[in-house]
Structure formats: C-alpha cells, structure tokens
C-alpha cells in the first residue's frame, strides 16, 4: 500500500527536482501518446525539444524562442507575485490586450510625427493600461469583497470585445482599404519595437522580461514588501498580525501584474505583431499561469519555465508541420506538463512510504 507521510520540513531537493522529473514524465507519456497516434515517439520528442535549438533551421527558430518566451516570462513574473500572496489574477490576457491598445493608441495618436520620445510614452501607456485593467478587480475585491478570480477572468472577455471594436473602429487603419486592423507599427520607426540586434529576436520586451526577473528576485528576497507577499501566502492571519494591510497588498499585487501584462502587450503589438487586430491575442496571458507554476513561482524558475514553454510551442509547431501531429496532441502534451508538475509537487511536502497493509 502506498502511504503519504508529511515531511517535517519541505524538502529542498525535491523542490528543485520536481520540474525536471515532471519534464521527463511528460516526455515519457507524451511519447506514448505520439506513439499511439502512429508517429515515432523518439522523432516527435526530438522534433519538439531538439529541432528548434540545434536543428537545421535553428537560425530561424532561436530568435522565435525569445519572441515567444519574453511575454510569457514578463506576465508570469507579475502573476507569481500575486499567486505567492494568494491573490489570483487569472485575467492577464485581458490586461495584455488593454496594454497593447493603450500603448498602440498613444503611438498611433502621434502618427506620422517622428520623435525619440514616442516609444517611451507608449511603454508607459501600455503599463498604465494593464495596471488600470487589473485595478478594477482589485478595487472591487477591496471594497465589496468580490472574487478576483471571476472578475479578472470575465474582464478578459470584455477586453476581447474592446479589441475587436478598436480594430474595426477607432484604431482602424484609414489607409487600410477597409480591412480591420490598425496601421502597421513596424513601418512607423518612432513607434516600432525593433530588434536591438538584428536577427536575434532580442527586442525591448526581452530586456524588460530580464529586468522583471531581477526586480522580482530582489523584491522577494531582500525587500519588506516581498516578505509581506510571501508571509500573506504562507499564513494570512500571521500576516495581519505582523502588520500587513491586506487591501494595500491586493492593490499592489494586482497592479504590478497588470502593469507587466500591459507591457508585454505593448511590446508585442509594437514589435512582432506590428498592429492591433481582432485576433491579436494568442493566449500568452493564460499560458503565463502555467509558466508561473512551472517555475515554482520563483523568478529564476519562471525564466527557465518561460524558455521551456516557448520551446514546446515552437517545437510543437514544427512537429505539426513536419510530422503531421494534430494541434490538439500538442496541447495535450503541454497540459501533461502542468499536470505532472502539480502532481509531483506533493513530493516537496510529503514522502511516499511503501508499506504492507496493516492487519486489523
């Protein structure tokens, strides 16, 4: 009989090892799944994990890793702060959309003026948009005790409608022959989030993601606010006793995560995507939740998890293209990753004991 025994102290070793074991288990069971679908499992796993990094076309895929990974890391860092304190922002996707709209809106308002200050203003506006959108559930929670999970999630759908309305109305390209979507910011130099070094995929969003990782690391380990965040998550009553003001923490955590999601939206719309369009958002805000947990809500872990997630995205696309695997299989594969991670998480606090059933 398998029994679980609570460890007196959380195991450091398992805390580090579970993500790796989860990735291995995903490879094993994912391989099994691909095998059942009639694809060579080794080839499929190799295509997903090896091809984007070291394959024949790696020169094309490697920059893509940064382009996909940066928004994931940026959003996940913000979410992890709230998650650590037990504040569940599920609506990063909406904040991402609103950040892209406010950011792009500021840029488009200056068109066709060329000036150095336009892009910085767009960055500020993007962060502000995301912050404002996330502050709605924060204020509702503080004032009326609403559930931030539901409110932030529902605001995603509001934001999506808003995005559609903007692409068809206010922000529509007047010279776009009636097609939905804004002007292409890639063709507007002052507003373009261009690659810092051409061909590397390194744009300002990547820089912002790295800064966010360092910022979060310092905040959580060296600063009183970070301590209060961790304390609130670990023992809410002890946190109030310690002097943490819950309302302030809710506003801070939702605000920061919203601002970072808004930034991610702005860097995307002004860079890789180029324009506001109806189908601009592709689910980074939701995937970032997985990234945050995959990275154990730890800044460095999130950096690695974001890279891994980007890898499975790109590898998954290659596998779809080259091996003809269905898109759903790739999604199952990504779902497995989260499943194994959460399941194995148990080992940090519990040990498994094998024992013969006791005779009554």
């Amino acid at each position: 009989m398998i029994r679980l025994e609570k460890r007196p102290q959380p195991s450091q070793a398992w805390s580090m090892a579970t993500p790796l074991v989860a990735v291995l288990a995903t490879m094993l069971f994912g391989g099994l799944l691909f095998g059942l679908l009639g694809t060579n499992p080794f080839l499929a796993i190799e295509t997903i994990f090896w091809e984007p990094l070291f394959g024949e076309f790696a020169f094309y895929y490697r920059p893509q890793l940064l382009v996909k990974g940066a928004p994931l890391v940026l959003i996940a860092i913000g979410l992890s702060l709230g998650f650590r304190a037990g504040i569940w922002n599920i609506g990063a996707e909406g904040q991402y959309i609103i950040g892209s709209l406010t950011g792009a809106g500021v840029g488009l308002a200056f068109y066709p003026l060329e000036a150095w200050y336009i892009f910085p203003l767009m960055v500020i506006a993007g962060a502000f948009g995301g912050w404002a959108w996330a502050t709605i559930p924060a204020i509702l929670k503080v004032r009326f005790g609403t559930n931030e999970i539901l409110v932030s999630l529902m605001l995603v759908y509001v934001a999506e409608q808003f995005l559609a309305s903007m692409s068809l109305g206010l922000l529509k390209n007047p010279e776009g022959f009636g097609f939905p979507g804004s002007r292409n910011l890639q063709q507007y130099a002052s507003a373009h989030n261009a690659e810092i070094v051409t061909g590397t995929g390194m744009h300002w969003g990547v820089v912002a993601a790295l800064i966010a990782v360092i910022f979060a690391y310092v905040l959580l380990n060296r600063h009183m606010l970070g301590f209060q965040i961790r304390l609130t998550g670990a023992a809410p009553r002890a946190a109030r006793f310690s002097g943490v003001r819950p309302a302030r923490l809710i506003l801070m955590c939702l605000g920061i995560s919203g601002a970072l999601a808004g930034l991610a939206g702005l860097f995307e719309v002004a860079g890789p995507a180029g324009q506001v369009s109806i189908d601009f958002n592709v689910g980074y805000g939701f995937t970032a939740i997985i990234v945050a947990f995959l990275g154990r809500l730890h800044p460095v872990g999130i950096l690695l998890a974001g890279a891994l997630m980007a890898l499975t995205y790109i590898g998954g696309e290659i596998a779809q293209g080259q091996l003809g695997l269905p898109a759903a299989a790739i999604q199952v594969f990504q779902g497995m990753l989260l499943f194994f991670l959460l399941a194995l998480d148990l080992l940090t606090n519990y040990r498994v004991a094998w024992r013969k059933p006791e005779v009554a």
């Binding site: 102290q9 023992a235 002890a238 310690s242």
Partner: protein, 505 residues
Amino acid sequence: MSQTLLNLNGLTKAYPGVVANDDISFRIGVGEVHALLGENGAGKSTLVKMIYGLVKPDSGTMELRGAPYAPGEPRAARADGIAMVFQHFSLFDALNVAENIALGMENPPPMRDLAARIREVSETYGLPLDPFRTVGDLSAGERQRVEIIRCLLQDPKLLIMDEPTSVLTPQEVDILFETLRKLRDEGTAILYISHKLEEIRTLCDTATILRLGKVVGTCTPRETTARDMAEMMVGSTLQTPERAGRALGEVALDISGLSAPAPSAFGTALKNVHLAVQQGEIVGIGGVAGNGQEELLAVLSGEVLTEAGAVKLMGQPIGRLGPTARRALGLLTAPEERLGHAAAPDMSLTENALLTGAVREKLAHNGFLRWGATREFAERIIAEFDVRTPGPETAARALSGGNLQKFVIGREVLQTPQVLVVNQPTWGVDAAAAAAIRQALLDLAAGGTAVVCISQDLDELMEIADRFAALNEGRLSTPRPTAGLTVEEIGLMMGGAHGMEVAHV
C-alpha cells in the same frame, strides 16, 4: 478490587523519531474513575487513541471483559461500548444540537424521537440541553454537554474524557463531576485525562502516571499529595517562579469604554471594557475560552481597530493605529494560536523573527531587509529562551509546541516592550518550559513593563498576576488583587455556572 473492564498489556506505539507509548500496562475496573496523568507529550493522547481505535498499537494487547479487544476503527470501539469526549469539540456551529448528534450516529432515528431521547438523557444526568438550539450560540460548557450526551446515547461501558475541565468555570466543573459520579455509580467506567492534580484528587479512584511514554507510577489520588503526583509526572523537583517585590510606575496601558463588534457570526463582541495597567504590574485575565479573549488580543495588537481614545499607550491614543505603529510605540502582543497566527508554520525561525521584530529591532532599512541582523536576533531568542532546534533556518512547524511557544514569547520579551499582552502563554507547554515562560514574564515586569496575561489556567494567573479580572461574554469584570482571592470568588467573576444546574438525582 472490582471486576476488570479493560486490561492493557504492554501497549507500544512508535512514531518516527519518538516512542509515544512504551510497554504500557494497567487495568480499569467496572465503575472505576481512572485518571491518566502526565505532561504534554507524555503519551496520554496516543494511548487513548489506541483504546478508541484511532491508532493501532505496534505491539501489546488489550482485553475487554476478558475477551481480546483490537478495534480497527472508532466505530468498532463504539460498538463495544467505548465512547470518547475529545478536548476539541467536533460540532458544526450552524446546526442545532439534535442535528449535530444525528450526524455522529450510524442510523439516526427521526428527529422528533432523537430530540425526545436527548431530553430524556439530559434530564437523567442533570445536563439540561435544548435539542433545537443552534450550537453556535452555546457556551463552551454547553457544547461539552452535547458531546457528553452524544456519548451517553450509546450507553457506554467506558467513557474517555480528554481534559474536560479546560473549558469550564470552577462551578461548571462541580456540575460535571456530579454527572460523572452518577455515571460511575451506575457502573460506567471513566478514563479521565488531565494534568490538573486537585481535580484528580477529588474525582478519581486510581491514577496511572505517564512520563515520556512509560508508566512511572500508580497511586490512589485521595491519599497522595498534589506535589508528590506532580513530581512523579515531571520526574524532578519543581521550581516555583520567584516574585520579587515590584515598584509600580505610571499607567502604561489604559483601556476605557472599549467596545468592538464580533468579528464573525460566532465570535464574541467586546462590551465596554475598562482596564488600566501600571508599569511593573502583571494583570491576569481569566475566563472560559470563547468569552472574548481572542478578540481582546486582536484589539490590543492592532489587528482590529477601535475608537482612537479607547486604547491609550502612555497616555497616547492608539485605537486607530495598526500593528506596526503600535509595535513602534512599544505595545507588543503574543496571540494564543502559535501556528498560523503568532508564527508562519512553513517559514524559518529567522523569517518568523522578522514577523514582529522588523520595527523595534531595526531589521529593515528603507524597506530592504537585513537578513544578517535578523538571523542574529533569531539566534538570540533561541539562546536566551532555550529553544531546542537545529538552528534558525528550521521551519517553525518542525518545532514542538513548547519550543515554538518559547520562541514566540521570547521574540516579544527580547524587544523590551513598554506593554506586553500575551494570550495563553503556556498552553500545551511542558512544566519546565511553562515555568521558564512565567519567570520571563515576571522578570519583564520587574524591569518596569506592564504585562497583561490572558489565560485559562487559573493556577498560572494566581502564581504571577498582581490583579485578576475575568472575561465573561465580552465583558471584563473589575480587576481585584490576587492576594486573598478564593476559587469561589474567581468562579463568580468568570460568570458562575452560566445558568447550568447540578444533577437532580
């Protein structure tokens, strides 16, 4: 000797790292009130859990009325006529008495019949209880009655009671003892777990004393002094804390007309509380659990805000200030619940030292944490309060209750407060650690700190407090000097018998 009901032979149970019960043997006779005496951690709970079928012994056997007895689960134990009243009640506040009792039954009869049965049993044993009252509205003593009646409905042959008097006033204790004596006279054996020696001397026929999982003695309580029993229990001579004569200074903490609404549906509202505590004085606040102790602490710690002038520290109104600001001014508190309130279970002792020490020990600079200084502070608490732990990086939950309590009290004492408020400072702590904590409170007061000690342990309050007041349904009685107070008077201050009555039979 009377007929043997239950015979225990060499019961042993080991947990990783500790032998909770080591070769325990004794017998309980029919109609005997048998005391199981021992400090926290002596193995009393493990032993009764084995009898009640919650834990299986590693070795050893039990015999019930001469037949082998090995209950696989509590249901089997109940079927064999063994019932247990736990120290912590398992009742649902929002349901009424009869519904709560029905929940614990295998095949509950229709509610009307059950209510009639409850009335019948409660009248027979002098435990008046209305089956249709909501449990959330009952006092602790009445809740205990629900648990007792739940047991009596099974017509038990052996009733196990775990620390039943910890939630009762002295008057309520008398009523309970009448009921238990009546049960005994009818032939029900009672296994009575306690560490309160005087109670055991009045009630019990035999006592088995446990220490560190072993039986260290058996005695007839009526013929043994409390001191002898205590020394058997602890295994050494006890050190009584010293009270030096203290000079009282000006009023440090002044509570006047303090009222606060109940924080939850089944919490207690504080009603017009007045209390002035002088520098160098220890005021003891007694009362049955759930009469506003937690709420009073929350109002003083700053977790709950009140009118500004209702709480004054050295003359300054602080009712609107939060915990951090109050700490900065010198009002420190230590709540009752160690894990989750006074300390964060999964965080290290260093981080827990920061939890309340940040302001006064200057453990943060411009919001940035000084981990080195924090670790030193934690190490200082560990050294000065003899906290047994591998080091400051240990998680709080890995410490035993007594050690964590020493850490929590030490953390506040070492910050040299102007006023210190503690709730249940020695709850669940072994005798040696309890003595050390009381001594620390006395030393602190000798240094000029005003101390408020909220406790349900009356002996403790009589030992250290200069004045005594009692909380009863959110009201605080007028404080009176402890010297010369009788148990009778204390009981009346605590609210007397709360309208409960003695068995009529």
